[in-house]
């Protein structure tokens, strides 16, 4: 038998794959990956906390913020995490030189993970690597603050990385039984991430019979600002083709395969032992066809790997634009939102179906502004010192903004700075106001920032979020979207704020209302499908299927 060398460009050498675990959660994932002993890939642990870093199994370790945090953690402050990262930028850059694929595993919400992940993604991109980010979102009970930090970081990552796979901790329950221990729940999440990484590596490293490479992976994930859909399943035995597919579709990231319905491009990769038959592939692809739209571009790859033995593994990768993920969700959220929030919650949800980009800006802007004022009203009693400046500025900004924007911004900034000390203690009443203010900011920045202004002065010191809020708020309000480019003189705008379409940011204010917010896989079917006679009863769930719904309708999906 004559063996021939494949074109080396077609596949990626194993040495060019790096897996980075960032922060405490990242270290845990890395540990799981190390235990699963992924061949070829190099592991790199980054952390500010020297203790967890020291106990990590990774081969390479880089301590972040040697001078800044002095071996301690960041205490949940992304600001610190960011600066610690920048301090170690050169070391990290050196470690990433020449890597073709970089996986970044991070738990968002804390300091190191949220702060440093976007920067690592940026560095890796600058070094020419294909960056896949696996991020876990914090539990709902961890509070809104962490949630927001995670959100901010996630939005940055969505732009900076080639592929972003998020895993919501709140969905951990789906992976394990309720009575299983917490370590098993976390373990299951880590295992899933590890499986995903393994599958991607298997896909790009191993030359296949029908090869899929990085180019196919890129095109499957091409949509910008997308969330990755990922499912991977492995099975053996008589019915292994369908079993593997079922396992892949049962991934929480795919929502029982229903999310594939909207996918444009789906990458399917099969890998099996030498017993893999064409018939099995055909069977599998045919049943997969039921889950993807007919028009979808299916990139198919297959590889024979003797190490797989009797197993058959299938990997599904696709991407959905973020707005299509959130569209349905926002609908459901608007049911539970309090009446005050309704007008602006409804408007986008109705609109974005037809035209996600243009109209929301205008329509949503007005009600939001009013809303904020109203909800800000009680604050005057609650914290006069704090709000006087705010209110005063409101008026000021609204009257002045039209005529002479640039100097006004400067003035506002100073004023809000002056208000800072008094701002620090009345924290609770502020909370009501915050979501709205946030939404305005995001909408405003989205409106005025036509192109992303990445990495000009990323080291600018940020103010504490608590203090930042009033500043943000009036700036969003005062600034009509038609105005020029105020980034230059406003230090509040994040240097890496993405050129985001307003659509996907709009739901941010409703965050507090839905525990499972940012993950696209919501429990839609329960509310939407009518159940006839069994309406309003407890869902009769068995094996993840609601038995009260007709199988005729369920199985068609």
């Amino acid at each position: 038998m004559i063996s021939y060398q494949r074109d080396s460009r077609e596949t990626i050498p194993a040495s060019a794959v790096k897996i980075i675990g960032l922060g405490g959660a990242g270290a845990n994932m890395l540990e799981r990956i190390a235990l699963d002993s992924i061949e070829g890939a190099e592991l790199l642990a980054l952390n500010t906390d020297i203790r967890t870093l020291a106990s990590c199994l990774a081969k390479d370790k880089i301590q972040l913020g040697v001078n800044l945090t002095k071996g301690l953690g960041t205490g949940g402050d992304p600001e610190l995490g960011q600066q610690a990262m920048l301090e170690a930028e050169n070391a990290v850059r050196a470690a990433l030189v020449g890597q073709r694929i970089v996986f970044v595993c991070a738990g968002l919400g804390g300091g190191t993970g949220s702060g440093a992940a976007p920067i690592i993604a940026r560095i890796a991109r600058e070094e020419g690597a294909f960056v896949v980010v696996f991020a876990t979102m914090p539990f709902f009970f961890e509070g809104r603050r962490r949630r927001e930090q995670a959100e901010t970081s996630l939005n940055q990552l969505a732009v900076l990385s080639n592929a972003l796979v998020t895993f919501d901790n709140n969905r951990m329950g789906e992976l394990v039984l309720a009575k299983q221990g917490i370590h098993e729940a976390f373990g299951a999440a880590d295992r899933m991430i590890s499986e995903s990484i393994k599958a991607v590596i298997r896909l790009v490293i191993r030359p296949g019979l029908i090869n899929v490479g990085l180019d196919d992976l890129m095109s499957a994930l091409r949509t910008t600002r997308s969330r990755c859909l990922f499912g991977s399943g492995i099975a053996d035995g008589k019915d292994r083709a369908l079993k593997a597919l079922r396992n892949a579709l049962s991934s929480p990231l795919l929502d029982q395969g229903s999310l594939l319905k909207e996918a444009q491009t789906v990458l399917v990769h099969l890998s099996g032992g030498e017993s893999l038959t064409l018939y099995e592939i055909e069977l599998l692809m045919r049943s997969l066809q039921k889950h993807v739209p007919e028009t979808a571009h299916v990139l198919f790859g297959a590889a024979i790997d003797p190490a797989m033995g009797d197993n058959l593994s299938i990997t599904l990768i696709s991407a959905l634009p973020e707005d299509s993920l959130t569209a349905g969700e926002r609908d459901s959220i608007s049911h539970v939102s309090e009446p005050a929030a309704k007008p602006e919650a409804k408007a986008p949800s109705l609109l974005d179906i037809e035209n996600p980009f243009l109209e929301i800006d205008r329509k949503a802007e007005a009600p939001v502004a009013i809303e904020t004022r109203e909800s800000g009203q009680p604050l005057v009693e609650a914290s006069p010192a704090a709000d006087e400046s705010g209110d005063h500025q409101d008026a000021l900004s609204i009257t002045e903004s039209r005529s002479e924007p640039p100097p006004e911004i400067g003035v506002l900034f100073q004023e809000s700075e002056r208000g800072e000390p008094s701002e620090s203690e009345p924290k609770t009443p502020k909370k009501e106001e915050r979501p709205f203010a946030e939404s305005e900011l995001t909408e405003a920045t989205a409106g005025i920032e036509p192109q992303g202004n990445i990495s000009d002065d990323s080291s600018i010191s940020r103010d504490q979020p608590k203090y930042r809020m009033p500043g943000k708020q009036l700036w969003g309000k005062s600034e009509p979207p038609s105005k020029g480019k105020p980034e230059d003189n406003d230090p509040f705008v994040d240097d890496i704020t993405p050129p985001s379409p307003p659509v996907e940011k709009a739901p941010a204010p409703q965050l507090k209302l839905d525990p499972k917010f940012p993950s696209p896989q919501s429990e839609l079917p329960f509310d939407i499908a009518p159940k006839g006679r069994f309406e309003g009863e407890n869902p009769n769930v068995f094996d993840g299927e609601d038995l009260d719904l007709p199988p005729f309708l369920r199985k068609k999906k």
Binding site: K531, G532, R533, D543, L547, L549, P550, F552
Partner: protein, 405 residues
């Protein structure tokens, strides 16, 4: 032992109907059905009571009918219960004989049984049945009593049925308010099996599936002993509901269509053309494609049977020698046995619907009354097993503690 003729009453509060059967057990232990009282149930969902007053009214109605038909004043009943919370588990208790005791003594056996009965179940559950499956002596099977044998260890294999106490209590409360006494409560499929399966079938291995209106109960017998039992909260109501949801027909029409036109087999030749219902004036009332109607029914029932299949212990279906026995109202569905054969690959037995099932004298062989009639058999067996029937104290005790025996 000469015994008097005894009258037992079985009561089944089902999702679709409440059924009381009065039976007479002759001294030669032949059973004669004296009368049946049936009414449509209301306020019962998936085997559990959801509307107490409605369910009580139904029970009173059925009681009156049964007393009328049998000419017996009913004082106490055997009650069957079901619901998705009911679970049957197998448990084995091992007792190692003390060194100076080479023979198995009754107390050793008792100890092994106690260990086996002590199944770990959730706090809110209560134990309904503990049924001995077999004894093992030194790891070897020994079905009969092993007392007196030489052995090192003795094991007892038990099947324990437990369910949520409050839900069972609800059914009991309903009956007590009637007012009736509850002699005993029985997990529905176990009662049905007393009537549907004979000893030989149980020895060869038989699966009984009772598909009622709201629940599907099953019990598996292997080698004469109960091997698995349970309940899946899906039944004929779901089929009707599916037809309603898919076709948009009202419930009454969907039900009629299901009974008259539906077919569960996957035979494509039966799925040609339209299924029509005509109203009184002879005009076509509703028209549904047979292909859709049959597919809706088939998928639902197939899924249900597969759920049963999945819940059976591994390899158990292959051990079924006698076959699969279907009872309950939904088992009357056309083509159901073909479907069941597709799923289980075993012989399928299905009682035929009797001609006069709608008349005032319902047939006793009708699968819809299988559970209630089975209760009488159960009562009879209980009677023979309990050589000493519970005395006054025991009865009093049962009054307050109706679970377990």
């Amino acid at each position: 032992m000469a015994r008097r003729t005894k009258i037992h009453v079985g009561l089944e509060i089902g999702t679709s109907k409440t059924c009381i059967v009065v039976g007479e057990v002759k001294p030669d232990s032949a059973v004669k059905i004296l009368g049946i009282g049936v009414t449509k149930s209301a306020g019962v969902r998936k085997g559990g009571i959801s509307d107490f007053p409605q369910a009580r009214a139904c029970l009173k109605d059925a009681l009156a009918k049964a007393e009328d038909a049998s000419d017996v004043e009913i004082g106490s009943v055997y009650l069957s219960v079901t619901g998705s919370h009911m679970q049957g588990v197998n448990n084995r208790g091992t007792f190692r004989l003390p060194d100076n005791q080479p023979n198995i003594l009754p107390e050793h056996l008792e100890e092994a049984c106690n260990i086996a009965r002590d199944v770990h179940y959730p706090q809110d559950h209560v134990c309904l049945h503990t049924i001995i499956r077999k004894y093992l002596v030194d790891g070897l099977e020994q079905s009969a009593s092993p007392v007196g044998l030489f052995a090192k260890t003795v094991e007892a294999d038990f099947h324990v049925v437990h369910g949520i106490g409050n839900r069972i209590q609800n059914s009991i409360k309903l009956v007590r308010e009637c007012p009736l006494e509850v002699d005993d409560i029985v997990f529905a499929p176990i009662a049905t099996a007393q009537m549907a399966l004979d000893r030989e079938q149980r020895l060869r291995g038989a699966l009984l599936i009772d598909i009622g209106g709201g629940t599907t109960d099953y019990v598996l017998y292997l080698e004469g002993a109960i091997a698995a039992s349970g309940c899946i909260p899906v039944g004929g109501d779901h089929v009707t509901n599916d037809i309603h949801l898919v076709t948009g027909l009202p419930f009454s029409k969907a039900e009629k269509l299901k009974i008259l036109e539906g077919n569960a087999s996957s035979d494509p030749s039966l799925s040609v053309g339209f299924a029509k219902l005509t109203d009184e004036s002879g005009f076509a009332d509703v028209e549904v494609k047979r292909a859709i109607l049959n597919e809706v029914i088939r998928q639902r029932l197939e899924e249900t049977l597969k759920l049963v299949h999945e819940r059976l212990p591994k390899g158990a279906v292959e051990k079924i020698g006698a076959g699969v026995f279907l009872t309950g109202g939904t088992s009357l569905m056309n083509g159901f046995s073909e479907l069941a054969f597709d799923v289980f690959g075993r012989d399928i037995y299905r009682p035929e619907a009797s001609e006069n099932s709608d008349s005032d004298h319902p047939s006793y062989r009708d699968p819809r009354y299988a559970t209630a009639i089975g209760l009488i058999r159960y009562a009879q067996i209980l009677e023979t097993e309990n050589i000493k029937p519970p005395g006054c104290l025991g009865k009093l005790f049962r009054l307050f503690w109706p679970f377990g025996r």
